[in-house]
C-alpha cells in the first residue's frame, strides 16, 4: 500500500528516524547537563587561551590529536587521569577527535615547560626526530584580536579589559602555548597522582657498565630533547656535572619536578629503566 503513497511514506520514514534520534541524541542532554556532574574547578577560557583554541581549530590539530583520556590502563598511564564530563562544559565545539596520529592532548597542560612547546611547535622534528607533525613556525606572527571581545561575549565567558589589552603584542604561538598549558589542568590530577617513591632506594646497577648502552638509548629518545644530546642542557638544565646521590637523581626522573617542568617518567618507564637512566647520567659525571 505504501508503494503508492509517497507523501505518507516520507512522513513515516521521518517518524521512524526520529525515534532513535530522540532517545539517543535528545534525551542525553538531560543526563549530561546534570548539575551533579559539574566540577567546581573548571574555568572558562581566557581571551588568550580562546584565541589559541581557535587557532587549534583553524589548523585542524584535531585531525591528529584527540582530547579525551579513556578509563583504560594504557590511556591513563600514558596521558593521565581519565576525562570527566564536567571538564568539557566550556568546549564549543568539543575537540575530542577520532584519530590519534599523535598523542592525546587532554592532559598536556603542565606536562612541559613553555619553552618546550615553542621549540616543538616551530620544528617538531628538532625535538622528536621521527615525528610526522607539521612545522608550525608560521604561527610566530601577530595575533589578530579584533574579534576577541565578540567571541568572549558570544560564548558568555568572563573577561576584563585588561585581559583584552594584554593581547597586544602577543603572537599566535603565544596563544597556542597558553591554550596547551590550560588543557586538563582544571582538576588537580597531577598532584593527586604525584607518585611517591617507596621501597629500597639503592641503585641496583651501581657502577654496572653493561646497562650504560641501554641507558643512553633511553636518554636519546626521551630526554635529549630537553637536556641536550650531550647532556649540556637546553630547555632543562645540564646533567653532565650533576653531583647528587643516585637516589635523588632517580627521584627527579621517577616523580618529575612539577614546579620546574620536568615530566615524571615513573609510570611510563618503570623503576628498572629509570635506574638504568640514572646510572647512565651518573656515569657521565665530569666527562
Amino acid at each position: 500500500m505504501l508503494e503508492k503513497k509517497p507523501i505518507i511514506l516520507l512522513l513515516l520514514a521521518t517518524a521512524v528516524i526520529l525515534v532513535g534520534t530522540i532517545v539517543t541524541m535528545v534525551a542525553p542532554f538531560k543526563w549530561i547537563n546534570d548539575p551533579k556532574l559539574q566540577l567546581a574547578g573548571v574555568k572558562p577560557y581566557t581571551p588568550l587561551q580562546l584565541e589559541g583554541r581557535d587557532i587549534y581549530i583553524r589548523e585542524g590539530c584535531n585531525n591528529c590529536h584527540t582530547q579525551t583520556v579513556r578509563p583504560l590502563l594504557a590511556d591513563v598511564e600514558r596521558y593521565g587521569e581519565y576525562s570527566k564530563v564536567g571538564e568539557f562544559v566550556h568546549d564549543q565545539p568539543f575537540l575530542w577527535g577520532s584519530r590519534r596520529t599523535g598523542p592525546d592532548l587532554a592532559r598536556i597542560g603542565g606536562k612541559y615547560p613553555n619553552a618546550w612547546h615553542y621549540r616543538h611547535m616551530e620544528d617538531p622534528q628538532s625535538m622528536v626526530p621521527r615525528s610526522n607533525m607539521p612545522k608550525y613556525a608560521f604561527l610566530k606572527k601577530q595575533l589578530d584580536s579584533r574579534l576577541t571581545e565578540k567571541k568572549m561575549k558570544a560564548l558568555g565567558f568572563p573577561y576584563t579589559h585588561a585581559d583584552l589589552a594584554a593581547l597586544q603584542g602577543k603572537t599566535e604561538m603565544d596563544a597556542m602555548v597558553a591554550y596547551m598549558q590550560k588543557l586538563g589542568n582544571d582538576i588537580p590530577w597531577r598532584k593527586a597522582s604525584q607518585v611517591t617513591v617507596t621501597g629500597d632506594m639503592k641503585n641496583p646497577y651501581q657502577d654496572d657498565k653493561t646497562v650504560i648502552q641501554e641507558g643512553k638509548a633511553l636518554y636519546d629518545k626521551e630526554c635529549a630533547q630537553c637536556h641536550g644530546a650531550d647532556l649540556k642542557g637546553g630547555v632543562g638544565p645540564a646533567l653532565a656535572d650533576i653531583d647528587k646521590p643516585d637516589a635523588e637523581v632517580f627521584k627527579s626522573i621517577y616523580a618529575g619536578i612539577e614546579s620546574g617542568g620536568m615530566p615524571a617518567y615513573g609510570e611510563s618507564l618503570g623503576k628498572d629503566r629509570v635506574w638504568k637512566l640514572t646510572t647512565f647520567i651518573k656515569y657521565h659525571q665530569g666527562k
Binding site: 520514514a13 521512524v16 525515534v19 542525553p28 583553524r58 584535531n62 590502563l73 594504557a74 577520532s98 558570544a154
Partner: protein, 467 residues
Amino acid sequence: MNQQEGYADDVVKGFITWSMVWGLVAVLVGVLVSLQLAWPQLNLPPYLTYGRLRPIHTNAGIFGWGIGSFMAFFFYITQRLTRTPLWSPGLARFQLYLFNVVIALAAVTLALGMNRSKEYAELEWPVALLVVVLWVIFAVNIIMTIVKRKEEQMYISLWYILATLVGVAVLYLVNNAGIPVSLTKSYSAYAGANDANVQWWYGHNAVAMVLTTPPLAIFYYFLPKSTGVPIYSHRMGVIAFWSLIFMYLWTGAHHLLWTPVPDWVQTLAMAFSIMLIAPSWGAVFNGYFSMNGQWHQMRENYLVKFLIFGITFYGLQTLQGPSQAVRTFSAFIHYTDWVPGHVHMGTLGWVSLVLFAAIYYTVPRLYNTEIYSVKLVNLHFWLAVIGQLIFSITMWIAGVQQATMLHATNPDGSLHYSFMETLIELYPYWHGRALGGIIYLASMVIFLYNIIKTANGGRLASAPERA
C-alpha cells in the same frame, strides 16, 4: 530514445561529469595526505598542511564525488522509475551550478582554515547555508517528480531516495546549529559531551544516509538493469529498508565508546550496531540471490562484476563495523589506523565500485554509443580492487600492531612502549598505503580516460544524424 520521453538528461550528464572531477580531486588529495603522514616535509604551511588538507579530502570525497553522483543518479533513476520527466529541469540546472560553487567554496575556505572542526560538518555557516539551499531545491525537485509520477508503484530505490532526502536534511540542520561571530567564524551551539553526542549522531548517520542508502538505491536499480533479471525479493527489500532506517539512528555513540558520554547511550549504540547486521545483510543476500543462475555474468558482464564486488565489500563493511562497536574491541582499535582501513573499504570498495558501475551503464546510453574500451574497464576494475585492498589490509595490520604496542605493559605494570616507539613502526605501513592509493589513482585516470573517449565517440557518431 531518451529525448522522446522528454527526460532531463543533460543535467544528469552534467552531474556525472562534475562528480568525476571532484572524485579525482578527492583521490589526489587523499594520496597527498597519505604521503604527508609518511613524509612530513611534504606539508606546505600554512595552506597545505595535513590538518587543513584532511578535511578537504573527506569533503571532496563524500560531498563532491559521493553526493555529486548521487544527484546524477537520483535524477536518472527517478525519471525512469516514475516514467515522468523531471519536475523542473531549470531548477536542476541551477542546482548543478550551485553544487559546483559550493564544493569549490568548501575547498577554498577549508584551505584558508575556516573550519568548524566537526567531522563532515566542517563548513562555516555561510557555505553550510548554501548546502541547505542546494538540498532543498534537490529534494523539492525529486519529491515533486514522484508526486506527479505516471507509474503508480514505487520501486524500492525510490524509498531509499526519499529516506535520504529527509534524513540528510534533519541531520545537517541539527548538527550545524551554531553561534556566528563573523562571516568566517562560528561556534557550535552545543558544548562538550553534548556536542560530541550530537556530532556522532550526525557523523554515523552521514554514513547511513550518504554512504549507505543512496548507493543502495543505485544498486537496487542498476543490478536488475545490468543482469536483465529482476531483484530477488521486493518484500525482503522493504523489511530491510524499515529496519535499516530505524536502527541506524541509535548507533552514533559507538564512535564515543569509553568517553564521558553516558554509559547507557554507549550500550544502546553497541546493541543496535550489532542488530544492524540483519538489515545490512538483507540487502547483500537480496543481491546475491538475484544472481541465482546468473553467476556466469560475473565473467561476461563487467557491470555485474563491479556491482557484486561492491555489495560484497558492503557486506564485509557491515560485519566489521559492528565488531568495532563492541566496547572491548573498540578499546583496542579506536583511534588507530584500523579505522581508516574500515573507512576506505566502504568508500573505495562499496560506494565507488557501485558508482563506477552506474556510470559505465549510463554514459553509453546517455551519449547514444558503446563503451570505448572494455579492456580498459577491466583494467580499471582490477587496479581499483587491488589498490583498495592494499590500503585496507595495510591499515588493519598497522592498527592492530599499534594497539598491541600501546597496551603492552612491563611486569611492574608500567607501559612497555612510548608513543613514539609505536609510531615509528607505522612508517612502512604508511608507505604501503600510499602505494595502494597511487594504484587506485591510476585506476581513476584510466576510468576517466575511458569515459571521456566514450562520450566523445558518442558525440562524433551522432553528429551527422543531426545535420
